[in-house]
């Protein structure tokens, strides 16, 4: 059994851990750290339920090794709210009814967060492209797109 020592930043906190070399980032987050907000879906990079930010970019944590993240920065759904205060995007998902069963929601929000971090004025097409790797089997996506649009508008209002 091959193991490695890793040091990384998760949601702003420095984490030291010993991980098996064949452990995915997804299983590391869920089983070793108890961060179960990141969901396990297809485990082959198709559904996007496991999306987290790696150095600010959205990636499938099921297609990433934990050991590969040594020295890097990971943000999960648990790392978005500050002092119990949801981000505008998280709140808009609730206000716009952008979820039903909720299983895809953390991944959707991470993909949309990555988009809004770099693009404050996304077009509908840009939004749909940003979530192209996130499957939702309940909503039909319309409400999700609306929630992301509303969050972008809110951020722009805050900037003004």
């Amino acid at each position: 059994m091959h193991k490695s020592m890793i040091n990384l930043t998760i949601n702003g906190d420095e984490v030291d851990a010993v991980v098996k070399d064949n452990l995915t980032l997804l299983d590391f987050l869920r089983d070793q750290l108890g961060l179960t907000g990141t969901k396990k879906g297809c485990e082959e990079g198709e559904c996007g339920a496991c999306t987290v930010l790696l150095d600010g970019l959205p990636v499938n944590s099921c297609c990433t090794l934990a050991v590969e993240c040594n020295g890097r920065e990971v943000t999960t759904i648990e790392g978005l709210a500050r002092n119990g205060q949801l981000t505008p995007l998280q709140r808009q998902f609730i206000d716009k009814w952008a979820l039903q069963c909720g299983y895809c929601t953390p991944g959707m929000i991470m993909s949309a967060t990555a988009l809004l971090n770099t693009n404050h004025h996304p077009t509908e097409l840009e939004i749909r492209e940003a979530i192209e790797g996130n499957l939702c089997r309940c909503t039909g996506y319309a409400k999700i797109v609306e929630a992301i649009q509303a969050a972008a508008a809110e951020m722009n209002w805050e900037e003004a």
């Binding site: 070399d21 990079g45 959205p58």
Partner: protein, 288 residues
Amino acid sequence: MVLPQFEYIAASSLEEACKLLLEHDGKAKVMAGATDLIPPMRDKVFTAEYVIDLKKIPGLDELSYDEKEGLKIGALTTLRTLEHSPLVKEKNPAVAYAAKVIASTQIRAKGTLVGNICNASPSNDSAPNLLAQGAKVNVQGVDGTRVIPIEEFFLGVRRTALKPGEIVTSVVIPPLAEDEKAAYMKFAVRKAMDLAIIGVAAKIKMKDGVCTDARVALGAVAVTPILAPAAAAELIGKKLTDEVIDKAAEAAMNSCSPISDIRASKEYRKEMVRVFTKRAVKQCLEQY
């Protein structure tokens, strides 16, 4: 599901990576983005006792353009970088487009063009452009470096011309001259997370309204991505009228014998090669 066991090694230099790869020949896999490594290992399509990560090796994420040499894409340059790079969009928009149509935002943030060709799927979206534009593959081995023309790189499904201990360090695509244009067209059912039913890349050179050089490459119609010289021959030396382009498209269709699978039948693939060859050539012409 837990991945089969392996030992992970983050190589700190190319020399070290090549040595390890040779030492553990047949038992080691090279890793860059890992997006096309972890799923097949989980499905036991292949196994590896050692996974050699290239990401800590400095300099492999190069992306540069030289007026003489062309566009150089390093082994660690991600598809996302290619998709968004103003340099790539300006110098070779077909390459930026081919990167953008692969998989999903998440996959492209990790996956690389070099990884895409090294995995050598017949339907990979990176290869047709490289074939149509005559790219060179730079390879490092234990005994030094060599250059493999892309035409000689693909040997079969998931098989390349790389020898034991060899690693692709970069791909270089020659510059497009003023009078040269290129295009890639992917045909798939879905806009994301889908493999090409077929893909067609074209590059043409026009002088005084006459096509003086052309190359057409096809994806997902054979065990490897292929060139269709018969199609190019129909274009060279002619004014590119609709009739001429139709003939070239027909030649492209007749020069491939795809298989029937879950995505499409052999007959449908051939017909789509005809349609998309036409469109790819026309898209080149529209850029003048």
